[in-house]
Symmetry: C2
Subunit: 483 residues, 2 copies
């Protein structure tokens, strides 16, 4: 096989999930695919992108993500040195619409482009095996099959759907290991899962590999409304900095349906490749414990943790809080700077229900993290009182906050690292480490980092109201409006 | 009985415990008797002091506490409006030495003064019953008995010692309910505890009521070294602000022994009054759950807490961290701003062992709280980085920090509430709310609150080293030396 654009696989990472089953580490404002969970130094999204860097196999990847996650996606890609196209969904419309966009986008370059759909939140334990599987599935996909990868089960999991294989596909596809799909099966109960495994059923991984034109044909046949909406949304998309922003009105017309229901369970062109690499969708804290390194007592300890008389437990401490467990087995303890979860390894969906409870109670920690990412860097509240709030603000080199003013607060900035360029009512000043500047209430100001290292400053806000919505944006280099 | 100084009971609160079984809320730097645990708005020490305010029964109380706790004791007494004598132990020498000091101190005013010894960390559910018990026990104490209160057990507790009663005492003492003590019994196992209760044994409360001269006689007979050390320590005591500081060298000579072993189990003059009021020594988190208000599911939730599918559990969240439990029963979850404990209701002494583990690992959270109390107010770290640290500092009206300087850091102070009087190299400035001041490295400075409301400020330290030991104290109104 020669290495040409036509023979490459075009990966598309679906990166739109919210992952509330992994609350409080994962939240709407910063969901699980962006958090180092299974690995200490990179998120599952970053690991997914790094799994696709063999340029003899994969073309430049595309990312389909939520509008709100765009700067996080860009930042995390930059951290691992991966270049990608980033397509923004104005709202969540489930996977069929995203797959349609992916197929249409790839077909622009080559109608027969091979497209690999991946989730951003899966753990794969063996990259060479994964790449080999993609190459093997590509053989059948080139023949016109919509291929999925079927993971050989290692336990009678009840959290996954299953696939029953049919006969081997004919010709080269069959020779490479691909089978027809006999049946898709919903998540089973435990005894049924045992039976399915005995019958040779596979876990439904949610990876798909297909020719763009084949998927578009099948969408036209089985989900024309999804395809129409995706076509319009892409045709009317706008470019915004480095992002392709799908047209909101057009995309909103896409029915909310998964690609499994919309196409895979209806098409006659589906196939499955049985694969064996270690894999998890880390759907729950218990699932993370399963894939984590564990000590002799079966404990997986991450961050500042100490246990005593405790077995088979997961302690995940992501702030600098010292997290301890004494005399309990099979528990999960997750500590963040503003919220703590204590549960059992089995209580997966209950955590999601808890987050809904918290939302109903109006608890901000249900959805928002204390550390908030912005295109220019990040900020986090470190203290709050009746008439004041203190934040630590980090600005990336060349980062620029919006030109803004506040109605209800004055601000004191103390630079603790790097150099700040501060504009106050038109006058520009450089503020260096161990210097401070005062921003009177109502002044029009902007903060930027003109330097080569990150700028860190402590902001002390003083006023009758310090809420995040008291920002009047006058101008913003990142195209953000006042909301 | 006429109300005269001679007929009053002189309460002495022993306030020297460290309470590591209730870590992380209770720590060496701020132990359990000072924390609101059983009651939301006052500590057990404050509740104990308030139990003694009937001036027809009790004289002005004395507090015997650790050197390090002196400002906390003073502050907490002031909060509840109780005046007391405060005696400082230079180090812990167990209860016999403290009781000897208490008896000697009372005997200075009246050799036959009635002394009531109380622990600062007990919960008593019925103050009138407690006062009535003290008055009843006083009858026998006046007759020369060393009385203890024996709590009628409500459960076969294994965490308490037991007392077997002998015959009623003769005369007025017996008429008031006092009995001789047949035997003191160590903490039993559960079946033995059942048996003891069936035999009518009582819990050993650790309250003692005696005439000073009687206790001194018995100490002289059974523990002369303790008495000698206490006499010397008190004779050579120094006055320090409002505190009586026992002489360290003399006090160090006192053998470490409890009053139970030193006197109570040896004297022939002991007696016990059986009493019935609700009582606990809150020795463990499980014991706190026992005495706490609980909801329909048996959960005691304190602070920001949410539970789902959880029963008979204690959640104690003392910071602003949202603490959640899903799908577990009979657990204890304690959240503080810098440490979290998850355990079972039964794991009492294991928590103490955990704290020893943490100490051995050098974890600062083993002993120190983030919020540190000082005679002038308090401070807590709210952020820390490679070359900076941020603190919130609260100064009481009229509070004055020491005149000091630092070798390795400059400081920026932003006043967020009240007014600061700042001295920098001899010059005095007033800094008001929403104003800031800069303290260059090496300058000699002092912070004071000249106002009528608490002063709050945010301190941003910048420098190569921001440790607490980089303070050179030049002068201090509270008599603290540089260490």
């Amino acid at each position: 096989m020669t290495v040409s654009e036509g023979s490459l696989i075009h990966p598309v990472i679906l990166c739109g999930g919210s992952g509330t089953r992994l609350w409080p580490a994962s939240r709407e404002s910063f969901p699980k695919q962006f958090i180092p969970l299974a690995e200490a130094d990179r998120s599952s999204f970053q690991a997914t992108a790094l799994r696709l860097t063999d340029a003899t196999v994969f073309a430049r990847p595309a990312i389909i993500t939520a509008q709100e996650a765009r700067f996080t996606v860009g930042e995390q890609l930059a951290q691992v040195g991966v270049a990608a196209d980033i397509l923004l969904e104005p709202q969540r419309r489930d996977s069929a619409a995203a797959v349609a966009v992916a197929a249409l986008n790839a077909a622009r370059r080559d109608p027969e482009a091979l497209v690999l759909i991946l989730a951003a939140d899966h753990v794969v334990g063996d990259t060479p095996a994964f790449v080999a599987a993609a190459r093997a599935a590509a053989v059948a996909a080139r023949d016109g099959c919509i291929m999925t990868l079927g993971i050989t089960p290692t336990a009678p999991a009840t959290a996954y759907g299953y696939i029953q294989m049919g006969d081997p596909l004919p010709g080269a596809a069959g020779a490479s290991g691909a089978h027809a799909i006999a049946r898709f099966l919903e998540k089973p109960d435990a005894p049924r899962a045992e039976g399915l495994i005995a019958e040779g059923a596979l876990w439904n991984s949610g990876y798909f590999l297909f020719r763009a034109d084949v998927m578009l044909d099948e969408l036209r046949a089985h989900a024309p409304a999804v395809l129409d909406a995706a076509e319009q949304a892409l045709a009317q998309a706008s470019r915004d900095l480095d992002f392709v922003r799908l047209d909101p009105a057009a995309f909103a017309q896409a029915p909310k349906i998964s690609i499994d229901y919309a196409v895979m369970e209806r098409t006659r062109r589906s196939g499955v490749l049985p694969v064996r690499f270690p894999w998890s969708d880390i759907g729950t804290w218990g699932a993370l414990w399963e894939v984590s390194d564990r000590d002799g007592a079966g404990n997986a300890l991450r961050g500042r943790a100490a246990v005593r008389d405790t077995r088979n437990s997961l302690v995940h401490s992501s702030g600098d809080i010292l997290t301890t467990v004494v005399g309990l087995d099979d528990v999960v303890v997750v500590t963040t700077p503003d919220a703590v979860l204590v549960t059992s390894r089995e209580a997966g969906s209950e955590v999601k229900a808890l987050v809904e409870d918290l939302r109903a109670r109006g608890e901000p920690e249900a959805d928002a993290h204390r550390l908030m990412y912005r295109p220019w860097g990040s900020y986090q509240r470190i203290d709050i009182g009746a008439r004041f709030q203190v934040k630590r603000i980090t600005v990336k080199p060349d980062g620029r906050l919006s030109l803004q003013k506040h109605y209800h607060r004055a601000e004191h900035w103390v630079v603790v690292r790097g150099t700040a360029e501060v504009t106050v009512d038109g006058a520009v000043t450089l503020v260096h480490e161990n210097e401070a500047i005062y921003l009177p209430i109502g002044c029009v100001h902007r903060l930027a980092n003109p330097g080569k290292i990150p700028l860190e400053l402590i902001e002390v806000q003083v006023g009758s109201y310090t809420g995040e919505d008291d920002i009047v944006r006058i101008e913003d280099v990142y195209g953000r409006d006042n909301a």
